[in-house]
Symmetry: C2
Subunit: 653 residues, 2 copies
């Protein structure tokens, strides 16, 4: 049974953590250790300032290969007046880096000298002539690296709390350090709990969940400077769990109790924490991720902080960013990690619960001179949404979301350069477009598709929110593809209609077609449940067009209102038994092992505003469509016809 004690605001949660850490004496660096000064020190945090022990250079050194001299001996040398210096007590060869003799205060570079040999026919070692002639006077300390030029003994080399970069290691070594005192890595125990969880590699049956939050959080912890240790999955049994937490707490500075996705597991977490110590909060007003738990458990004479991490993977990963990273930074004595931010314009409205800080995953792209952020799936269970996200936008507590056009800072998961190289595709989903995305990676373009259906794509282009839209809209009156829609919805935007592929459409059915589907009329059968595409999808328009042609009424089809947003979504619905069939493309059937009943042939084009068609950004895509190798790859997909791929079908606007 799910009983959240109370969802408290994020700042209140952070304040409670602060207080508890201060009371336990855990609000600073946990400890320090002295490590060798070598490449393994990179990334560690200095526990103390580093002061130079010796100067660098630690002696006056020649900065060039040449001859050490006393500057006053060169007085009078000029292009017109040679000065000759005999090698010996007042002139000696030095290599770069060599110490300067006591009597010397300058170096004449060898290329600015003329060597004089006693025997012009004898051996000529330019480092050991009898004398040198020079034609320019030197100022004292010319071509000399003075002692302390780089660092003077006792000077501050690096401050406390500094995270060591490669060059810092060089500066430390150059200033005479032979070891470094750094903050000890906090040991973080990761304890997954939930009888339904199976470790990676174990056989997975229906009802089992692959346990990977411990891997995600261990990788986060390791990147943030902690030492993660993953424990085996604990079943939802109170005594077992209590023993496991107690054992982990004895070894760790922080215990992360990773609940399975069932609320039951969370209750066990809260109970275990209460039993072994003190539960400080259960529930934070943050979305996704609100069932976060925080407490302190006793381990011998220590109090060990423990965080109950929610089971949904997006919640778990964000719990890491919001709660665990600042904690580790504090224990390492450094400033919390600051994500790069970029001001973005919301392309769509977001509605958020006013009581929560809502962390919205977004895809970001530059279209013309606007940097647009489009929200992506908000399900806490959809880890692929975090993988696809270019950043996070926070709709703060106290407001009801963000409006379209609002400008807000996004915390970036990708560099601004990567975002500038992103082609935003919208409209209809197509499997071969995913293949194009693969191929474009090598030319430095990221092709990101928002699947809003063909019609939705044209509307997005009208709002200037994408670089191109995939479309396969048949006009019921003319039977013509796309152009009539472009004229209707984009009357004022000059666009190019670029042929992508001819595609087969048909019914995705169970393997072996057990219900014997032959045509659309089968959808009206009593024993048949259909899965549809969303309104505005080309496939939906095609279905309606074909139904109208044959006089079949949509409201006689069971499941007509059951909508999916992609071909693969339809395929998954059929594969899982949620429906008996759905209209779609054969590649989607093949993807999940379904059979396919071909019915229609259609045209899938790319609608590209001319402003983007001729841009550097899209050039590699236009070239790719004309690349025979890519065309061959696409024609290998079932039901694809690439004969017109890459040709301009029409221009409009």
């Amino acid at each position: 049974m799910s009983v959240y004690l109370h969802d408290i605001p994020l700042d209140e949660a952070q304040a409670r953590i602060e207080r508890a850490l201060a009371e336990a004496g855990l609000d600073g660096v946990l400890g320090e250790e002295t490590i060798p000064l070598d490449e393994t020190a990179g990334g560690r945090t200095l526990a103390h300032p580093v002061w130079a022990r010796i100067s660098s250079p630690h002696y006056n050194a020649a900065a060039m290969d040449g001859f050490a001299v006393s500057a006053r001996d060169t007085a009078g040398a000029s292009p017109a007046a040679e000065v000759r210096l005999a090698l010996g007590e007042r002139c000696a060869y030095v290599d770069t880096g060599d110490p300067l003799p006591d009597w010397a205060d300058a170096v004449v570079p060898i290329e600015e000298t003329e060597p004089k040999y006693p025997d012009p026919a004898g051996p000529h070692d330019p480092r050991r002539p009898a004398a040198i002639a020079i034609r320019a006077a030197l100022a004292p300390w010319k071509h000399v690296r003075a002692m302390g030029e780089d660092m003077v003994a006792t000077e501050l080399v690096l401050p406390q709390g500094h995270v060591l970069r490669p060059v810092d290691l060089g500066a430390c070594a150059g200033s005479g350090q032979t070891s470094l005192t750094v903050a000890r890595r906090p040991m973080v125990a990761l304890l997954p709990t939930g009888s339904e969880l199976k470790p990676v590699g174990a056989p997975v049956g229906v009802g089992d969940i692959i346990e990977y939050n411990s891997i995600v959080l261990a990788s986060q912890v390791s990147g943030w400077g902690g030492a993660p240790r993953r424990y085996p999955v604990s079943p939802d049994e109170l005594p077992v769990l209590k023993a496991a937490v107690a054992a982990a707490a004895r070894e760790a500075d922080l215990v992360l109790l990773l609940s399975g996705s069932s609320a039951g597991a969370e209750d066990f977490s809260a109970q275990v924490i209460s039993a072994l110590g003190e539960l400080l909060f259960h529930g934070v007003a943050v979305r996704p991720g609100h069932p976060v738990i925080f407490g302190m458990v006793r381990a011998g004479d220590r109090n060990v902080p423990i965080v109950g991490v929610p089971g949904y993977p997006v919640s778990a990963a964000l719990t890491g960013e919001i709660f665990i990273e600042p904690l580790l930074s504090r224990w390492l004595g450094r400033r919390p990690f600051e994500p790069q931010t970029l001001e973005v314009e919301m392309s769509r409205k977001i509605t958020s619960p006013p009581g929560d800080d809502d962390y919205v995953r977004v895809v970001i792209g530059r279209v013309g001179d606007r940097t647009l952020a489009a929200p992506i799936s908000r399900g806490a269970g959809v880890i692929s949404s975090l993988v696809r996200a270019d950043g996070i936008v926070v709709a703060p507590r106290g407001i009801q979301g963000l409006s379209a056009g609002e400008r807000v800072p996004a915390r970036l998961y990708r560099s601004p350069d990567e975002i500038a190289r992103t082609i935003l595709a919208t409209g209809s989903h197509d499997v071969a477009l995913d293949l194009a995305a693969q191929h474009l990676a090598s030319s430095g373009r990221r092709l990101v598709s928002a699947n809003v259906g063909s019609l939705g794509g044209l509307l997005a282009l009208r709002r200037g929110e994408a670089h191109l839209a995939g479309s396969h809209l048949i006009d019921p009156e003319s039977g013509e593809y796309n152009l009539p829609y472009v004229r209707r919805y984009l009357p004022e935007t000059p666009v190019v209609i670029l042929a992508f592929a001819g595609r087969e459409q048909g019914l995705l059915v169970q393997p072996g077609n057990p219900k014997g589907f032959v045509g659309l009329e089968d959808l009206l059968r009593k024993d048949v449940v259909y899965v549809n595409r969303q309104r505005g999808a080309g496939t939906r328009v095609l279905l309606d067009h074909e139904l109208a042609k044959t006089g079949l009424a949509p409201d006689m089809i069971a499941g007509y209102d059951q909508e999916e947003f992609t071909h693969l979504g339809v395929a998954a619905a059929v594969a899982s038994g949620r429906a008996d069939c759905g209209l779609g493309i054969p590649a989607a059937a093949q993807a999940v092992g379904l059979d396919f009943v071909p019915l229609f042939q259609e045209r899938y084009d790319l609608i590209v505003p001319k402003a983007h068609y001729n841009s550097d950004l899209l050039a590699p895509l236009v070239a790719l469509l004309q690349d025979p190798q890519f065309q061959t790859a696409v024609s290998g997909l079932p039901g694809y016809d690439v004969r017109r791929m890459g040709t301009v079908v029409a221009e409009a606007g």
Copy 2:
């Protein structure tokens, strides 16, 4: 003897590397390996795309704790009309994540049900009532995580060449992967050469150089995904070096031959490469770092690329960034690392040799609404300049530098946030100001000092290039400190003169004061060489003022023209024997173990434009100066008087 074959342009060097790699079949991923899917996979690069092996979820799962039902059984339920469902074949309790029974297509959350128990006095398990009553009808698939909601089997999870982040590991695991095929880490051998090089920890005598380039480059290589291996220092002996390179090449994918700073070592490098294979270039028109060498050596049946890395530490680190990182990225099959960039305005002119790409280290700060970049020391031997640098600005080949006010992109070494938190101090150098920088770190401010002398500081404030200037300028006429100069040089800028410290000034002399210095008149002695501060430095103004008072002529002082830019620079000059004495503060004498002859008392103030004095940025500094703990720390430095610290001495402008 230094013989550079020819300095070729950077793009030509890169083209030669390309060609040589292509000929050797080394222009792509070196190899792949299959590794376990756990946290250690973070940071590795995918050698192949990852496609989903199973859907996620791989079954239709309850998204809430509640009762699995068939949506059609809930038809008619409304606030006014309760529908009652008996637990059994068409209604069953499910936890979040549980698979949905075949007959169910929706979940009623437990909190939206009213449990009905046969015996109201009997045991009440809300998961096992006899029936539930509901007051809202459900749509099919409500509160169900449909199979494939996250990922559908065969869908692309991650593209080839992707560098794995923590969430990516989760997505891979969730899509059924149990291991990952990633690019093998290129093995990079680092071989320092030069008889003058001593490893960290070895005793260091005059003429010895601490070898740390191998540590810096190993740390770089490791951060860029390679596997570094450091070899012991090889002496400058051709046969030894040849054997060492041959041995390293047999084990490595890339050999880095790290020359000592002497040009002799570089010649050995070139000779060794020619002897063991082919020398492809020696010298690239890049500053600093131009004596880069590239070649291919034979190792068994393989050709192994070898880079001769220049010995100066700044050159060595930049060689890593310019040449080694792109090579490793190519071998890992990923795009080269893209540093974050920021548009900056040059605060000073830079003159560069027109034939070179000049990599200029800069300090960056925001003053008002300008993001200013000030060039710092350009010596290739000064690694502390790389440590202090906020970024790099490139003055490209073909032009003669960058002009003041020019806007150029800077490659950042620090985040823009860190730069926004930077207080740019200019003017006179002071040891206690360095201490303030230490203390400010904890309040998130970085205090960066440019040492341009007191007068230079006032001029920098006039140009709007800094937030404050340290100044100790005595007015010869009135004997008053700072205010007369502020009135003269900043007539139109409202400023606050904030007392920092009273300081002692005197002569820095050899330990024991062997030359028996007593006062300024000793500077005129024939056996004395003086080291001066630069024009515009407060200490120089003080010297000139005191000389004038006593009627001594500067041109009678040997070394009057020998200029240093900081107190520590003067101290180092005396310590190294370049001079017998210099005027400065006792803290500098103490720093390098010199003795101090006190002569004068002076006032060191901070000149702060009012626009900055009241800013959030400077608030922690203003507070720090009034903090008794900090004042005590400063008064612990020799010769400091903190009685007026933090008080406003005057306002002007």
